[in-house]
Symmetry: C2
């Protein structure tokens, strides 16, 4: 679990995921849109791939990357353990707002 967070704890990797969220994408497209060097992009993609966040498919000379859902589901599961906390928080907020009316 900590590994997943460590992978996401890097700005450029988050940007890559956001770009892949809309549609799958080749490495070159990511290089152009993110304005970073190709080796840097490839390295981040490797990290994301080994953590399961993305997978790649070969199309001619290109590698098309896309998001894989499993790690996000695991994040969701981890977060669920803490959900009661902010549920209570929202409840308290609601009561506060209700009282103000």
């Amino acid at each position: 679990m900590v590994g997943a967070f460590a992978v996401l704890g890097e700005a450029n990797r988050l940007r890559i995921l956001e770009h892949l969220r809309g549609a799958e994408c080749s490495v070159g497209e990511l290089v152009d849109r993110l304005g970073m060097s190709q080796p840097a992009v490839s390295k981040h993609l490797r990290v994301l791939r080994e953590a399961g966040f993305v997978s790649s498919r070969i199309a001619a000379q290109q590698r098309i990357y896309r998001i894989e859902p499993e790690p996000f589901a695991e994040l969701e599961h981890w977060l669920a353990q803490y959900r009661r906390l902010w549920d209570r928080h929202l409840d308290a907020l609601e009561r506060h707002l209700d009282n103000q009316e």
Copy 2:
């Protein structure tokens, strides 16, 4: 956002959060239960506090730490942007299982 992930991308900080998930806790208790040095615990608590994950209250010579819900709510919100992905994934899984019956 990336900051929150960076904060969670550290094993001992996750362990601290898990301990605080059950009940609020003093620094000394965390030191005992996690088996790490007191300065290390204090540093991690500082990082968690500055990121909003925990807050502290003074009780005599002790500082009692507890979890704050906001950052978790933000995580939830961030994750929601990707939820459609694994919703589709779960749908596909269901269809797969249905077909197997």
